[in-house]
């Protein structure tokens, strides 16, 4: 194992994962293929939140908002206006990104708990909108009947996998770029970055917009995957679950949040069949994560490695 890492697991592990992901569908039931699809969608969402939470140090509690808005955009355009597939996809991503660009103006000067609170408030506003702007969103009933664009779970899985690989690659490139590196500096000491000559507001703002854009991509996928959109997509529970995925997996690592997404989706679907106490288990996961691995599971591994 140790030698394996020395060869450069950084390149080999993702490749291995991708090969595995690409190869397994024929061996799995459609149910598992569906779950894997879900995991990848939430992995994109969790990684996008990690750009904010883990890299820039901005704890957003309203991140599901962009995910939801993108999904709603797809749903509204596809059902009420019968727009074509590409129009829906592009609009979903663009509207989600524009929204994050607008919200970013309100939040980028705020930090820490205040950032948490203002993003929570914005999330609630979006949730309120999805609930109350009934003529467009269908209110509590949501919007169903989004046309299926890809036949069969395997096709959808493969498309999701491609997008997942694309998004992951882009995000990895992003965080390894000079810009992404600056974000880490802001996380570590914003005032020092300022005194070194970095306009930290602008960097935070851009990182917020970029995270919103990736969340929108996930939202578009989710809309097509379920063929349904409802207000629960962007409520506080949804946002805090993404938050948990990132924290559980390991903020500031990208791999961690993806794993966290996988763990939560799997637990949720596998365990809940055997117990009525899913809420309690989820609560225990929150608490035990903080107690046992406050930096997330993936960072546990890194810590033990650096100690060795």
């Amino acid at each position: 194992m140790a030698e394996f890492r020395q060869i450069g697991w950084k390149a080999s592990v993702p490749t291995l994962v991708i090969v595995l992901l690409a190869a397994v569908p024929p061996f799995l039931s459609s149910y598992w293929v569906g779950l894997l699809t879900q995991i990848m969608i939430f992995a994109i969402l969790a990684m996008s939140l990690d750009i904010l939470l883990g890299y820039t140090g901005l704890p957003s509690l309203g991140h599901a908002g962009f995910f939801g808005v993108a999904a709603y955009t797809v749903a509204v355009l596809a059902t009420a206006y019968h727009a074509g597939f590409w129009t829906c996809v592009a609009s979903g991503i663009i509207i989600g990104t524009l929204l994050s660009a607008a919200f970013g103006l309100l939040v980028s000067h705020v930090r820490d708990v205040y950032f948490l609170m203002i993003t929570l408030a914005l999330g609630m506003v979006l949730w309120g909108l999805s609930n109350r702007w009934i003529t467009v969103t269908g209110g509590d009933n949501g919007i169903s009947g989004i046309p299926r664009v890809m036949t069969g779970p395997i096709t959808f899985y493969e498309v999701t996998l491609l997008i997942f690989i694309g998004c992951t690659a882009l995000m990895m490139l992003f965080i390894s770029s000079p810009f992404g590196f600056t974000l880490k500096g802001i996380r570590e000491s914003e005032s020092r970055m300022k005194s070194l000559g970095v306009n930290t507001w602008l960097h935070c703002y851009l990182s917020y917009v970029i995270a919103g854009a990736f969340a929108s991509v996930a939202g578009v996928l989710w809309a097509y995957y379920n063929a349904f959109v409802g207000p629960t997509y962007l409520d506080l529970t949804a946002s805090s679950e993404v938050f948990l995925m990132v924290t559980l997996g390991g903020p500031g690592t990208l791999v961690g949040p993806a794993l966290g997404a996988g763990a939560i989706v799997l637990l949720k679907n596998v365990i809940s069949a055997y117990t009525q106490r899913w809420l309690m288990i989820l609560g225990a996961i929150y608490i035990m994560t903080i107690l046992g691995a406050p930096q997330g599971l993936w960072n546990l591994r890194r810590r033990s490695r650096s100690r060795a």
């Binding site: 490139l173 770029s177 590196f181 300022k194 005194s195 970095v198």
Partner: protein, 254 residues
């Protein structure tokens, strides 16, 4: 750079905190390449003055100009871009990053390429080279892979100065670089400061009088937010008031 102007000019700069006037009508001029020390008892407003110069705080009154340009209302990052760099009394570094990464951050901070999102940082050889040179210059090359939070206090101070030098500033503000250092560390820091590029103006806050007088040729004494005396170190040393309130028999408080 326009050489007809002094490096830094403070005119009647004041700063209020609530009812308290922490810095009171300070006038100060620093020429390019000048070595200048700022001394005064605790609470004299030295660090506040630094914060006003570097932009962390906004002046309540007065103007600050840097090579003739008014920078009074500029944000800290804009001032840094113009060539004002600083260190902090309590070191402000990037604790969970390595020494190399710390320096790299400083190297790219004033580089337009910090906005690049589509290329890995590692692919910019020149930035890496620049960082390596800097580490070499500050004797930190061996420590490049250490996390900054694991460094000794003295090494952290060195990193601090290295960071502020990365942007090739015109004016360097050093806030008690020796504070809390062991005699050995203090000595090597002193050597390091002596080696700094002589075209850079340096403004130093220092409690250790020997260091201050050894380093600077000009001294400003601050007390209760006001400039008490300013002048060549010999004049200041001779000043009776300064001796009374500051250089007296007592050790300066730290």
């Amino acid at each position: 750079m326009d050489c007809s102007h002094p490096c830094l000019v403070l005119e009647n700069v004041s700063r209020d905190f609530g009812g308290l006037r922490a810095v009171d009508s300070v006038n100060l001029t620093i020429q390019p390449g000048e070595r200048h020390a700022l001394i005064g008892p605790n609470g004299a407003g030295k660090t506040t003055l630094f914060n006003l110069i570097s932009g962390e705080l906004r002046a309540t009154d007065g103007t600050i100009s840097f090579f003739g340009a008014d920078v009074t209302r500029l944000a800290p990052d804009r001032r840094a871009a113009r060539g004002i760099a600083r260190t902090f009394q309590i070191t402000k570094l990037f604790p969970n990053l390595t020494v190399l990464e710390n320096v790299l951050l400083a190297c790219e901070a004033l580089d337009r390429r910090k906005f690049t999102m589509h290329r890995p940082l590692a692919s910019y050889r020149d930035l890496a080279q620049k960082a390596a040179n800097l580490l070499e210059a500050f004797g930190l090359a061996q420590l490049r892979q250490e996390l900054v939070r694991n460094l000794s206090h003295g090494d952290q101070r060195k990193v601090d100065v290295a960071l502020s030098m990365a942007g090739r500033p015109q004016l360097l503000l050093l806030d008690e670089p020796m504070a809390g250092l062991s005699p050995g560390e203090s000595h090597s820091m002193h050597e390091l400061l002596e080696k700094l590029d002589s075209t850079i103006a340096v403004l130093l806050i220092e409690h250790d009088m020997d260091v201050a007088f050894a380093f600077a040729e000009k001294i400003t004494v601050l007390s209760q937010g006001r400039v008490l005396t300013e002048g060549h170190k010999d004049e200041v040393r001779a000043s009776r008031t300064v001796q009374q309130i500051y250089l007296g028999a007592e050790e300066p408080p730290c």
